[in-house]
């Protein structure tokens, strides 16, 4: 699989479908696993990492769901290719940074992937569009069961799956939803909501997970603990809290509409206008404006772009995506010009022919 081809498609998890997709952009569940016989990645010798890589690869080939996946060794990828995978939420910055023998196994539709030799030997991940915690858990769980037939996982009866960092020991599971909360931000209730989230044992992060910034009113909410609770209980509790937050967001939205409908519509249309007519634009600005337009969609304002197109805007206008699209490395200044052009074409009348066939 060539990444330039991959760049032209959009992962299925970005297609804007699924429950509550006007508020929840995507759902992710990942499991951390290690092989019993090998020291953890950061202390393993190169030949041990090679052993892990080949064991995982051979186990994956025997797993029906993953049999068609592509193997992408990080070493063989250019920095832009790796950055592309980070922007796509498929690998961590950590995996991208390192020159050691690490890789990604990826299904063409991006719904399921396995990072090999990241902080843990395996990081299995399921991504789904919209709010779909249970089905994401089920798909990653099924793959884990399959791989567990073949691979000898480090596991203790008492502490569960043993991971390099004790914060993941136990289930090794991190479930998260990427949620868009503009009304709570605008009505200044977000602080209280976030505080409530952390009090019930969940964590809040930015657009790209751990250590990333909050951008465009997108928040990533995930479970914090991995011991003392089964995977299903963790999923259920994140599900409950997320439902509640969606409800808060919807109530705040109604409040806003009652008090300031015209001002909000103005903000939405100005954002849309800027996206459609700008000539130089940064990816940060695209994210913020796309956030405002997405807000407009949730208010059922007619005549804007659809959710899928907005998801495309968020992901495909990022630096590595722009460069793969252009087919060469670009300076930031060039990127900002090209990005404006790309956005105009994507939001133009004939979206399907213009940008996508290029």
């Amino acid at each position: 699989m060539k990444l330039t081809d991959q760049a032209r498609h959009l992962g299925r998890w970005l297609d804007g479908t699924g429950p509550a997709s006007d508020v929840v952009l995507s759902t992710r569940v990942r499991l951390a696993r290690n092989l019993k016989e090998v020291t953890f990645t950061h202390r393993a010798r190169e030949e041990q990492l090679a052993m892990v890589y080949s064991s995982v690869l051979s186990a994956v080939r025997k797993t029906p769901v993953l049999a068609t996946s592509s193997a992408l060794p990080m070493r063989d990828l250019s920095p832009i290719d790796r950055q592309f995978l980070v922007e796509r939420h498929l690998i961590s910055n950590d995996l991208a940074d390192n020159g050691r023998l690490r890789g990604l196994l990826l299904l063409p539709d991006e719904t399921v992937s396995v990072m090999v030799n990241e902080e843990d030997h395996l990081r299995l991940q399921a991504l789904a569009s919209g709010f779909q915690l249970r089905s994401a858990w089920e798909s990653v769980n099924a793959i884990d069961d399959e791989l567990g037939q073949d691979l000898d996982y480090a596991f203790s009866d008492e502490l569960g799956y043993l991971t390099a960092c004790p914060t993941n020991a136990g289930t090794g599971m991190r479930a998260s939803v990427l949620i868009h909360l503009p009304s709570l931000v605008l009505t200044r209730q977000i602080g209280r909501v976030l505080q409530g989230i952390t009090q019930v044992g969940l964590a809040v992060r930015g657009f790209y997970g751990e250590g990333s910034q909050i951008m465009g009113n997108f928040f990533q909410i995930s479970n914090q603990t991995t011991l003392g609770q089964s995977e299903r209980e963790t999923i259920e509790s994140l599900d409950r809290v997320t439902r509640q937050i969606i409800d808060y967001e919807q109530r705040a939205r109604e409040e806003l509409l009652k008090d300031a409908r015209v001002q909000i519509e103005d903000k939405v249309w100005r954002a849309y206008g800027t996206l459609r007519h700008s000539r130089v634009i940064s990816s940060q600005e695209v994210i913020n404006l796309a956030s405002a337009v997405r807000f407009g969609l949730s208010l059922q304002i007619e005549g804007l772009a659809d959710v899928k197109t907005l998801n495309e805007l968020l992901i495909r206008t990022q630096p590595a995506h722009m460069q793969l699209w252009a087919g060469r490395e670009l300076e930031q200044r060039e990127r900002n010009v090209l990005r404006a052009e790309y956005v105009r074409r994507l939001l133009g009348e004939d979206i399907s022919n213009a940008a996508r066939s290029n």
């Binding site: 596991f155 390099a164 991995t226 011991l227 003392g228």
Partner: protein, 175 residues
């Protein structure tokens, strides 16, 4: 708005506290919030998990600092002080080697030191059996407390039968 505690710096942390149904609003600066141990989400997002962990570990190692720091894992040679610095263990065996130090740490992170989730396909039968035995032990205790001796005897028989099945080399510890 000024910080309610020091009155000098601007208040950046705002929260509502409810104690015995009495609600009070607080507005404090970052420094005072930190000193009082108020948890501030996102304010300190630049910290890595490693830093936070290292901080947590430090509290637990007090007193016998040097002795504990030199404990070494026989399999991967990781020394406990290295874990304190990086927040990463070296291998699965480390969980056994540093068991005494890790238990309080895990409790602080997760509020528990007991895995109740799934087990690998290969171990799942054995784990299910072990959990069942554990549950029966609790039932037995309850039966005895309620003086239901006949019931207790029946439970004890079931436990013995099940333990006979599990008494392989794989019981407990890091399998």
């Amino acid at each position: 708005m000024q910080c309610q505690l020091c009155g000098k710096r601007p208040a950046v942390v705002h929260f509502t506290e409810i104690v015995n149904n009495k609600k009070s609003d607080h507005h404090v600066c970052e420094k005072c919030a930190e000193e009082r141990g108020y948890h501030v989400p996102l304010l300190k997002s630049k910290f890595s998990v490693g830093d936070l962990l290292a901080g947590m570990v430090d509290q637990s190692g007090q007193g016998e600092e040097t002795k504990v720091g030199r404990v070494q894992c026989p399999r991967c040679n990781l020394v406990y002080s290295e874990f304190k610095e990086s927040g990463r263990l070296g291998c699965s065996e480390c969980y056994t080697t540093f068991r005494a130090q890790l238990r309080p740490l895990l409790r602080r992170i997760h509020g528990s030191t007991k895995h109740v989730g799934k087990a690998p396909a290969r171990d799942s039968e054995r784990v299910a059996l072990r959990r069942e035995v554990q549950r029966l032990h609790e039932d037995l205790q309850r039966a005895i407390e309620h003086e239901e001796f006949e019931n207790a005897a029946a439970i004890r028989d079931r436990i013995r039968a099940m333990e006979a099945q599990t008494s392989g080399p794989a019981a407990g510890g890091t399998s």
